[in-house]
Symmetry: D3
Subunit: 145 residues, 6 copies
């Protein structure tokens, strides 16, 4: 089953690239709905809230439909697993600066009945509790919606 639109790749690029660098992908990005945001803390509850708020404010998921929030929520969790590399539980031990996220909603598959899917990507730097020390991290989660 070929994917006509790689929503995961677009999410990664939207989270990672500067506006200039993203330019060559603008045509591809017109095939999907997407938004970009920032999470300024490593408190997982606040990150999830930041992504959910951005998704609702930008019309990427419906305000009042639980199944859309549920789909987004699990995509966020999967993406955070990549950010935390298997140690979601130690999130509160981490410190972050400049974690950026993107949310992409689209129809990746040719078959009409596969419907819409959602991708959440994070990219930024993550550090030990001591300030000034960090390296890059990223994550990607994909779910049906």
């Amino acid at each position: 089953m070929s994917q006509k639109t790689q929503i995961g790749k677009l999410a990664l690029l939207a989270a990672t690239l500067s506006p200039d660098e993203l330019e060559p992908f603008s045509e591809k990005l017109e095939e999907v709905k997407y938004c970009i945001g920032k999470a300024g803390s490593m408190d997982t509850q606040k990150i999830i809230a930041a992504v959910e708020t951005a998704a609702k404010r930008n019309g990427l998921i419906a305000q009042d439909v639980y199944r859309e929030t549920h789909a987004l929520y699990h995509a966020i969790l999967e993406s955070l697993e990549g950010v935390m590399r298997g140690q979601l539980g130690v999130g509160n031990m981490m410190r972050t600066v400049g974690l950026r996220f993107s949310i992409v909603r689209g129809t990746p598959y040719d078959q009409k009945e596969e419907g819409e899917w959602i991708a959440v990507a994070f990219y930024g730097t993550i550090g030990a509790p001591v300030k000034g020390l960090e390296h890059e991290t990223c994550g990607l989660g994909v779910n049906h919606i």
Copy 2:
């Protein structure tokens, strides 16, 4: 502490983009050593072996120095956590098609004593055991070397 070279971002792009799409980043890529490869199975032991072999064949790590293999090995494991989204243990339940990886070695920090670091990125599609069904996945691991 500012990073002069984002080895993680370069690794992500090298694993994700086509040669044409990677073109605008060629100048940045000249600041680092890197290589690209493919892993055709979801058997974690084989993926690790494929990355290690590529790293040694392309001179990204020294053949006979354990500390370099140790650094690479943990970067691979961290990257695979993103690919498997916290379920490394269920790797054998998955099926993969077209997982691509990149290895980037460089000096991300201005300070000389921070020395060299290594980044490993994966991008591709991953599926449930039933053939023909998959979605995108990615991972990134970074370590000092």
Copy 3:
């Protein structure tokens, strides 16, 4: 948001109770589609295949629609986490006798736009590798479909 139909509870009961014991819940079970099956091995790949096969054969998910398989797959994984109590990765160290599963598909919420959800439950006994020694275990996973 009240749930008019507790598909998770029905899945638990269908996996746990004997036909006689399930009798008082037959009216509730008419509100949903469900099926019951057995998994005779602790090889996670085989358990997943057994549940998927049962789901398709009994018309609980569509044969050829990836999003339905994707929804079921994650419900199975969540349910197995309960069975393995956080050690999915050690599945191959376990031995099982008489693990029963149920799959329930229904519309748990009053609001029409919440649509259909799927629940997967397991109940049975699980043992250390030495034969003849086991205790009970169960799991429940719920996902939108």
Copy 4:
């Protein structure tokens, strides 16, 4: 080794069913000691404290014997793994309404030297941080005491 009393099944039913629904199992429940309680928060420390307090107040474990608390504690943790589906560490990101628990102590095996075992079950709904959105969850832990 056959189990004459399925303490895990009884714990699941006691946590899941209404008093009316539990009626047909009252004879079985007379073979064991059990109690039922509620946990009104998703703070894992508070849930554990609630279960321990209920267990001691109802005479299911001895007040001052560490080995009984140790046995109960690990049964609770195993049960919570099912509730959280492998993400115990993200407990603080969740919100719960109406999580019910049961504790059952009995002698499941025919052989006298197998002695007493304890089972802890949870059933209820669990939600994302945004209020009003939740689905069902359950867990079961079993330990020797």
Copy 5:
């Protein structure tokens, strides 16, 4: 509650030290039952079997009582978590040389009703799949029996 006998410390020393180095602790070791063994593979199922066999052959647990095997089994799993440092699931990716284990059974607490407890310790070297490269690892699990 003071511990009169530190069975965990004794298990660590028995697994780690040479016979000569263990000599100063011989008096303490007379307060407990213990045995020492070797596990020559990183296949978790084989390691568990090796420890169980040693425990039964040396009379540290009863041959036919499930609750004793259950207690030992969870002590082994906890100890292996330390050996694998949170990645039990990737056990099959590892290679080991010279992993030694010890099993100690004793009465650590002054209070008679706390009864017997069991400790399992591992010490040795663990390596990436490529031969010749390894570093030290250890683990300790403690359970009531």
Copy 6:
């Protein structure tokens, strides 16, 4: 590849033994740099800070070099996995009394290019939230530096 100095074993002994018991190993300990400290809380962030502070104050890692802090940080995390036995995320549910740690820096391998490595060990008692109830625990992490 033989290890001329077992920094992991020395770290374990330094964390576990009393000064008198450590005496026979004093010659071995002269081959490495090491220090010992105490962590009086089970808050993982505070434990990490305590170990990092001790490491810097005793000159075991350089104050201002991120790569050394990064190496130490991952050695601490690996060691804590052993302490928490795979449940790092539930750290906040635990209570600890008398957790001791040691940090050892040395050159374990004969080959000069393998350079320096660092080992972090913990030993102590860990308890359920209810005061007065605990058993022993330990952990060991090893990393190149």
